[in-house]
Structures are given as structure tokens and as C-alpha cells.
Subunit: 358 residues, 2 copies
């Protein structure tokens, strides 16, 4: 069964849809009791590496929330493990990279790896999910973007000021570019593996790139994003996501992606205008709004939809991952509200449906 | 001796200056050995409450770095102490508020306090610094903005997602507005006390306001900022600062301030255009850039100055506080570079000098 006519994939291509499609970042996650039940048996990393269980949690929100797309359960940092950096998830402390990259020698020492081969367990999850979904909704694959991966690899985990990352960038630009080039190719190979296994679209998470000054983005990140996007299997929609990016939206557009993610700190209408109406956008409800009373949630969903002005090419999402504190009922409410408040008769627009941009 | 003709105050009024003035947020801070020497004898809170020592560290960077303004050594959270919330600085963990505001009853229970009276030690520091400076450079007073103060008061300390703060805002808007109104008046009284004691300008730190969606800023913050700015002693330049504000600059302008702070995540030229050229701007070098090699620092200082295009009304600063890891030599280098690279013959501009905006 094909998903090509699904609202999510149509919106990625900026084609009119009967309702605005919605999915939520981290929709397979801690806020759901079904997910926590699985996690009570398996650690986070074990779950990522266990295709049957990963497929199970990938599918949970499709049924429970009624979202318009599934997103693969995995982690952006899995790619660092085959690079020999040592990846752990310390309880409560987030990811830990035991052997971080700190010098040009560390970059040179990185082994050649076949990402799709070493992360075959993720591709197996993709195949299992696709079989289970049997065309109900599309499946989104994903990976971390080179900068965000590099930031974890260099800092050794999460960071507040990204001092070591920026330090390597400024003091050792040749090594920095070599690292980013390696990561761009690895990420592209990995995403192409997910696409070959059945992913209908992919999202590139450059979650922390908003910490960079625009000039630094242009010099140290943009060329590698272009390499990455250029290498992806043509014809598959690509979502390019970051947070705190209100200063670099034009540059993210230049970097690439059919759909540009917007967070809640910019009005969606302003963000879309800056991205350009020849791209689709995804966003941008504040995840914290899902903890508000239902009447407030309704108002906020309405505001986001109003900003999108029923223009084809809007994928509703949160501005970042759904928070663990979110009541499941409220997540379900958001999905229902988006569908209810965006319902329209087709054709709503008389412009020609546009193809997928570079 | 008057400081009215100083480059800093002239730039606040958008008058031409022979060089672009510079100061750095947290310039009296941990990166300086002289500061650490004082702190070895006094805790952070003791230092704030000890006018002679606070005056000493306020003056250190004026001599050591050659900056164009002193900024009072104090903390934005001092105001929470007379409100009975219990303020501690836990080593390594940042501020802790022992009795946070969580409910409408907590807001109603806040005592009436005379800020200038209860924080008389800060005003004494202002007087001591002014005497010691004897007109060499102007002194900037400061306070936390209502939202940023409220966020600490509600969360009980620093936060990542501001869930409790946004929770109160969404679920208890009447209590939220009452709290913000109280804080706006307190902050204005406190800043007016600093001005009466001799502060030549004041900065309002809304450090974390960039975490809000623009609609929330407009509904829950903007009116209270207007109250605050309206109550300040006329004729004294006011800097309105925040980080991550690239989505709300127009709203910050609407809220008020003669000088709008810009962080490094937006090109200064774009930020200034959005703020409007009838306001001055302050910023916007990435604090992490000060850890780069000197040749990189030079290039980055040049880029910020180029973005300002020698337009009167630019106060050079970092986009946020100077980092404790910063080499003192590099901080000094930035000051020297700003002066060297911005030196110009006056009058550089033939437009009329403009007054201080509301």
C-alpha cells in the first residue's frame, strides 16, 4: 500500500491537503505509559538496538494519538558508536561520549565505517515498522546533522556554551572541516540506508545549530549540509530541523531541505516568509503549551494554524520534542484540534502543485 | 566630573563618537584573577552585600581592560530576597530559591517591600563606585526584568524548559499578571534608587525571555515591561537586554528601552534594522569567540563593526556574559581592537543627533 497520497507527504510537496497533517517530535517517548512499559524491560540503548521493541514503540503513537506519520524510534547519536567514540546514556544525565574528539589527531584517527552496515539494526526496525504500518501512514527516518553530532562528539555530551566545539572550529578549521565532511557523508549513507529500507521521508536534526553566529554557520556548517543534502536519494522529502534558528533561517534554506523546521520562538508566518514559500515548513507549537489547560491549548493550536493561513506546505509539529511531563490526553487533543480546525474542502488553492526542491 | 560626553552615553543617545564604545557583560567576574582573589575571602552573596568589596570588583575591569563603562557588581536575583523567597547560591549549581512561587496564594502572600531601602547596600556600592571613578567612565546600574525574575522565583532556580513558569502563566493568568505588575514596580523603584545614587545608565536584563513564543511575550510580558520603562527616571539611558530574542525584537522595541541588546545569533545589521534605526543597539560578539586565537578574534570584531556600519548608536558588547574560561589578554584584546578598528574622524555623520526615545 502506498503512502504517496498521505497528507504528510503531500504537505512536504506543498500539495493541498484536506487537513493539516501533524506528528510530534519524540512522539514515541517517555510521556506515554506504553513506552515506559517497554523501557521498564530495556535500557534506552537496548531499545534502540532491539528492532521488534523499537518497532513497537514507533507504532504506539500512531494508534494512541492518531498522528499522520510515524517516526522511527532511534537516537541521533547511534552513529557515534561505530566511530569508536563510546556512547552511553547515563540515567538522568543524558548521553556521555567516553572518548570525545578534541584534536586534529582524533579526527584523523576516526575509522572508515559503513554506517548502513553497522546500524543494520535500525534498518531492520524500518522494515518491521513499514510491514506493520502497511501503508496506514508514512514512516519518517532520521539522523543527527553533522554539526549537532560533532557538538556531542567534541563536548563529550550535552553542552551549554559549546566552548570545545567552537574552540575546535576556530583554532583548527582544517580538522573541523574534515570532521564535518566525514559526518556529512556518513549521515547521508545512513539516511539512504533508511530510505532503501522503506522510510518515506527523512528528517535531519540539527538540534543545537541555533547556538552558532550566522557567519559561523555559513563558514563552518552550511557547505557540509549541502554535501549531505546533495547525496540523499532523490524524490524523498527531507525535513531540515533546528531550534533557536530565528537568526539563520535564510541560511538553513540555502543549506537545503524540502521542509524547514521552525521552533516556537518565531511567529510561523514570519519564519515561512523568510524560508520562502517555495519550501514547506514544519512547526511550531511550544511543547510547554501542551501542559496548559485544554482551552489554552485550543487557542494556541488555532494561532499556529492561523499563521500558516491554510497555505499548502504546512506540517504541524511542536517546536521541539514533546516533554515527558505532557498528559497523553493533551497530546491527543492537539492532534484532534489540528485536524478539526484545519479541515477544508479541496481544492483550497488553485496554484499548481509544486515539486520537491533540491 | 560629568560623563555626559563619554562615548558610551553618547552612543546610547545615537550621537557620533570618535570610537565605538565597549563594555562586556560580567566584565567584573570569574575570568579575572583580581576578582577571584576577592572571592577567595567572600562568598558571592557576601560580596554583593559588601559595598567596599563590590565597588572594588566593579572597578577592576575599568583599569585592567580599558572598557568605556563600569557596570555595578551585583546580582539580578538580589531583589527576590526581600520578597521572602529565600535566595542561596549553591556552589556549582547556580541560584536556589528556597520558597518558590507556585500558586496564586503565593503571589498574594508577597510582602510589600521598599526595594531601595532593602537593597540599600547596592545603592551604597553605586555611591562608592561613582566617587572612585570620579568621571573617568560612566557607571551602569542594572536589574533583572520581571519575566526573568519571575522565572527564577517560580522555577526555584535556573531552568531548561520553564515549565512551571509557563504553567503559571497559562493556568493562572490573573496571578501571573499580578506577579509581573508587582515585579515591574519593584524593579523600577530599585533602578530609580540606583539612578538617584549616581548610576549614569541602567540595563534591564531579561536574560531568558527568548524562551517565550512571540504571542506569549506580547500577552504576558510586554505590558509589564512598558510599566517598568514608563516609571524610570527620565533622561537616563536604558538598555533592554535579552538572549535568544531573534523572534521578538520588534516586540522588545515596542516594550521600550533606548538601547536594545542583540545576541550573536542574529547578524547585527538585521537585528538593528528590525529594532529600528531610531534606537541604539548593543552587542553582539559570541562570548565563545574570546577563546579563539587572536587572529580569529580580530576578524570577528571586524565583522561586528562592519555590521554596525559606523552608524551612531552602536555599543559594542558580547551577546551574553563573558565566560569564566576567557583569557584576560583576549578580553583586553577585544577592547583594544574595537577602539582601533572603529576609530574615525568626527563628525562622521551629518544627520542631527537624536534624543532619547521614550
Amino acid at each position: 500500500m502506498t503512502t504517496a497520497g498521505s497528507p504528510f507527504l503531500r504537505a512536504c510537496r506543498r500539495e493541498p491537503t484536506a487537513v493539516t497533517p501533524i506528528w510530534m517530535m519524540r512522539q514515541a517517548g517517555r510521556f506515554m505509559p506504553e513506552y515506559r512499559a517497554v523501557r521498564s524491560r530495556l535500557s534506552f540503548l537496548e531499545l534502540c538496538k532491539h528492532p521488534e521493541a523499537a518497532a513497537e514503540v514507533t507504532l504506539q503513537p500512531v494508534t494512541r494519538l492518531g498522528v499522520d506519520a510515524a517516526i522511527l524510534f532511534a537516537d541521533i547519536l547511534l552513529l557515534l558508536e561505530p566511530l569508536g567514540l563510546g556512547l552511553r546514556f547515563a540515567a538522568g544525565d543524558g548521553p556521555v561520549i567516553d572518548r570525545p574528539i578534541r584534536s586534529p589527531a582524533d579526527v584523523e584517527r576516526l575509522p572508515e565505517v559503513d554506517a548502513a552496515d553497522r546500524l543494520a539494526y535500525v534498518l531492520e526496525t524500518v522494515r518491521l515498522v513499514k510491514r506493520e504500518l502497511s501503508g496506514r501512514v508514512p514512516l519518517i527516518g532520521f539522523a543527527g546533522a553533522p554539526f549537532t553530532l560533532a557538538s556531542y562528539a567534541v563536548e563529550g555530551g550535552g553542552s551549554r556554551n559549546y566552548l570545545r566545539t567552537k574552540g575546535l572550529m576556530y583554532a583548527e578549521p582544517v580538522a573541523w572541516h574534515a570532521l564535518m565532511e566525514r559526518l556529512a557523508i556518513l549521515v547521508a549513507d545512513y539516511l539512504n540506508g533508511q530510505i532503501a529500507a522503506g522510510a518515506d521521508a527523512v528528517q535531519v536534526f540539527d538540534s543545537w545549530v541555533g547556538q552558532l553566529a550566522p557567519d559561523d554557520y555559513r563558514a563552518f556548517v552550511l557547505p557540509h549540509m549541502q554535501t549531505l543534502f546533495r547525496r540523499l536519494t532523490p524524490g524523498v522529502p527531507v525535513v531540515h530541523f533546528g531550534t533557536g534558528t530565528a537568526g539563520i533561517l535564510e541560511l538553513m534554506r540555502e543549506a537545503g531541505g524540502d521542509v524547514i523546521g521552525l521552533d516556537w520562538r518565531i511567529p510561523l508566518a514570519d519564519g515561512w516568509r523568510r524560508v520562502g514559500f517555495d519550501r514547506a515548513v514544519q512547526g511550531n507549537l511550544d511543547p510547554a503549551a501542551l501542559l496548559a489547560p485544554p482551552s489554552v491549548i485550543r487557542e494556541k493550536v488555532r494561532e499556529v494554524l492561523a499563521q500558516a493561513a491554510a497555505r499548502p506546505g504546512h506540517v504541524f509539529n511542536l517546536g521541539h520534542g514533546i516533554l515527558p511531563e505532557t498528559p497523553v490526553d493533551h497530546a491527543r487533543l492537539v492532534v484532534d484540534l489540528v485536524h478539526e480546525l484545519s479541515a477544508r474542502d479541496l481544492p483550497a488553492f488553485d496554484g499548481p502543485a509544486a515539486g520537491i526542491a533540491g
